[in-house]
Amino acid sequence: MTTLDDSNKEKIRSVSVDLNNDASLLIDIPDALCERDKVKFTVHTKTTLSSFQKPEFSVPRQHEDFIWLHDTLVETEDYAGLIIPPAPPKPDFEGPREKMHKLGEGEATMTKEEYTKMKQELEAEYLAVFKKTVQVHEIFLQRLSSHPILNKDRNFQIFLEYDQDLSVRRKNAKEMFGGFFKNMVKSADEVLISGVKEVDDFFEQEKTFLLDYYSKIKDSTAKAEKMTRSHKNIADDYIRISSLMYQQKITRILIYTHIVVTMSFVSLQKVEGRVASDQELKLTELLRYYMRDIQAAKDLLYRRARALADYENSNKALDKARLKSKDIPQAEEHQQQCLQKFDKLSESGKKELTSFKGRRVVAFRKNLIEMAELEIKHAKVRSSIQLYYICFIMCTNELQYAWGICKILCEQI
């Protein structure tokens, strides 16, 4: 059982801004249980709304339940003009698990210290992945609860309240096939969206912007992920080096400078490791999240484009009907419906996209500031460590002072 207390959650909440502020409906995920591949989230709700049976309650939910909720929202016609918050990605422990496996295999070739250290690092990595997945699921729910229209959705309420297993309502095989089909249609949408004649300047601009931005942000996300992996590799190297230096036999080489150097490598490793995970949270997560969010915005544009195409088709059908003098009232009604739908989509779409932009800018600002502050903090820590050590080696010749003070310094990191 891994419990995240409030202070921890504040720290890790990186991409969400201004969520969960409305006291009428407060949602969080106070803890989660990880069993092999499955993660069981405890969704906790506190509400003053009368639509719920109780003012406070918790339910266990699995990742698949979240996906179900997302998909039902997407398929709801009424919400076609809204940006549906992106579904949280599946919990992926493959990375640390593979590393853990490799570590187990290589145990024989390592020293005890090295093995212990690497194991600790892996456990920290595992924990980081775990925290991240909890955060992402939490943000999804909080986006829903903050949205004036979506938070009234019936399925959302069921999700929060229904104290039985939701699997009954989840996708069965037919619906899954439907989902697959839906994806195929989406790629046709890409062609559609670029082909359709846009009447509205605002949407024309948005379309161009979002398509371009999406590909750029996808690229940046991938590159940022590579960077953090490199950082982790370096941290692992420092672990190996420092554990080698710990070994008795090697003390002969550097003698007291060895103590100092070992300590500095150990502390460097701690800092590098921490940089890797902090950078991960700030920059990479930010980029990753907004990549998905932009996809959701694009989906809105697709739906609107489809509605526009439907409207144009209905116009053509009406003209044909008038020509043939047959079924005119149906055609007229159909055309009216299409027009209404299209107008409704355009109106809400415009609102959604504008607030989306504002949200994005605010989130980027917050994250970039936090990232820069963290980088500065870490660089300062690292440089003060190094400064201490240099002064040491140069000033001290007495071994025991070096040892004692290094130990104190190391504990402060």
């Binding site: 960077m227 800018v361 010749n397 007495e398 004692g404």
Partner: protein, 516 residues
């Protein structure tokens, strides 16, 4: 000096008990007294070190070695050196001033057979009229000479010195790589078998040199030349730091004379090269078959020590090489992220955010450059140093092997002597009087020769043992100095990198805050 009070303390520190198998960093830490010592006592210590001049400093440099003397009987707890220099924490009497004078004299007069018999060394140096070691060699200006497969790189070797050994104070010559190898092989043939640790020359690299010969003016061949230049410089400095090697005529000729006979036997693919390989193989076989009765525990322990050191150094070297590689990867990934972020910034329609993203891209690019420089520092300082020491340890092990060979020779002559004596005894019982006298005389001569040989063998063995002890002591001392200065330089580069990073991020922060 309250010896009695100190001695039990020393045992508690745990620092002195560096017998194998004990962790230098016991988790609870050594005596609590240490942490209280703090900066205050540090400064007094510091002052004392400086106040007493260079001799004092060198004395303190020896300390770490002293503290970690393996065989406890060699540096007894009662030795005056130890008491003075191991002032423990809470006692305010670090008494820096008075001890030095009382300590210096006994050191020079030390007759006991510890690994730091610097006494004889000190004497030699003092006899030379106090010609302090002041020589600096640099290898620079690599120039390609010639064309095609016969091309080679010529390096400028500049010596700056004030020592009376040399005719001039500053002079330079041009040398090529095979000249260095030639120097090493001459020195090795002269000094290895009597127990001197001759620093090994940098390794040949057929692939690397071929690239240069072929004329590829690219990054990797430039790096190769730079790596080699740096290695040659370190090689020469190590060679001249050895007081005996410095005076060797071959070394002097190498540094001073403008023309040097080509060292042909250093070519990899030559008869000499082949011969060398055969000899190496023969040596390896011999090593396995020689079973020496080690009467001296010091040697046994030292050999074990160097074996372990070899293994550990190689592992450490491999890890540092991996670090260098990963840092280069990081720099590459940062560069590509920077480009991507710049594109993202261009695509962003919110002006302030767009500007911030472009700034972010710039920062990442600058930091990528920093990381690259850091990778180079990682490499040149740590990795190459470790590589040098891996090779040096091999040379040290070689010297121990030479001692074994010498012992073997001695034993062989002894066995021959034994045989001859038995033969002589047999002759006594021979009843052929006419042949007897002649044979007896022959054998007597042979026995006399062999007796001299045995004596010489014994002397050689003793001499090489003595030399090795000195050499190992000098080696350990040099090693500490070497690592210490390299580590300082390395940490300085790390420090610079960090401070630059702080500057860059601090410049970026207002841009991020400016997003509205």
């Amino acid at each position: 000096m309250a010896d009695a009070a100190r001695d039990p303390q020393q045992d508690d520190t745990g620092l002195l008990e560096l017998e194998d198998g004990e962790d230098l960093f016991p988790e609870p830490g050594p005596g609590p007294a240490l942490e209280e010592s703090g900066p205050a006592s540090l400064t007094t210590e510091d002052l004392s070190t400086n106040a007493n001049g260079p001799k004092q400093a060198s004395l303190f440099d020896d300390d770490p070695d002293d503290l970690f003397a393996e065989a406890t009987e060699e540096v007894s707890l009662d030795s005056p050196d130890r008491d003075v220099l191991l002032s423990d924490g809470p006692s305010p009497a670090i008494t820096p001033m008075t001890p030095p004078t009382s300590v210096i004299t006994p050191r020079i007069g030390h007759a006991h057979d510890d690994m730091f018999t610097h006494s004889s060394f000190d004497e030699i140096e003092e006899e030379d009229g106090g010609d302090s070691f002041d020589i600096h060699i640099s290898v620079s200006d690599p120039e390609k000479v010639g064309d095609g497969m016969n091309a080679y790189m010529a390096y400028k070797v500049t010596t700056k010195t004030s020592m009376s050994l040399f005719k001039l104070r500053e002079f330079s010559v041009r040398r090529r790589f095979s000249d260095f190898l030639g120097l090493h092989s001459k020195l090795a043939s002269k000094y290895l078998h009597i127990g001197y640790i001759v620093p090994p020359a940098p390794e040949k690299s057929i692939v690397g040199m071929t690239k240069v010969k072929v004329g590829k003016e690219d990054q990797s061949s430039n790096e190769f030349v730079e790596k080699r230049r740096s290695a040659l410089e370190r090689y020469l400095m190590r060679t001249v730091k050895h007081p005996i090697l410095l005076k060797d005529p071959d070394v002097l000729q190498f540094l001073e004379s403008s023309e040097l006979p080509r060292a042909v036997s250093t070519q990899a693919l030559s008869s000499a090269g082949l011969l060398r390989m055969v000899n190496k193989a023969a040596d390896a076989v011999n090593k396995m078959t020689i079973k020496m009765n080690e009467s001296d525990a010091w040697f046994e322990e030292k050999q074990q020590h160097f074996e372990n050191l070899d293994v550990q150094l190689r592992k450490l070297h491999a890890s540092v090489e991996s670090l260098v590689l990963h840092r280069k990867e990081l720099s590459m990934n940062m560069a590509s992220f920077a480009k991507s972020a710049a594109m993202l910034g261009n695509s962003e329609d919110h002006t302030a955010l767009s500007r911030a993203l472009s700034q972010l891209a710039e920062v990442e690019e600058k930091i990528d450059q920093l990381q690259q420089d850091q990778a180079n520092a990682d490499f040149y300082f740590l990795s190459e140093l470790l590589g040098d020491y891996v090779r040096l340890i091999t040379a040290v092990k070689g010297v121990f092997d030479q001692r074994m060979k010498t012992w073997q020779k001695w034993q062989d002559s002894q066995m021959m002597l034994q045989k001859k004596r038995e033969a002589e005894a047999k002759l006594q019982f021979n009843n052929k009087p006419d042949k007897l006298q002649q044979a007896k005389d022959e054998i007597k001569e042979e026995i006399e020769e062999l007796e001299m040989k045995v004596q010489q063998g014994e002397r050689d063995f003793e001499q090489i043992s003595k030399t090795i002890r000195k050499e190992v002591g000098r080696f350990e001392k040099e090693r500490v100095k070497d690592f210490k200065s390299t580590v300082i330089q390395y940490l300085e580069t790390l420090l610079q990198t960090q401070q630059q990073m702080i500057k860059y991020w601090e410049a970026f922060l207002p841009e991020a805050k400016a997003i509205s």
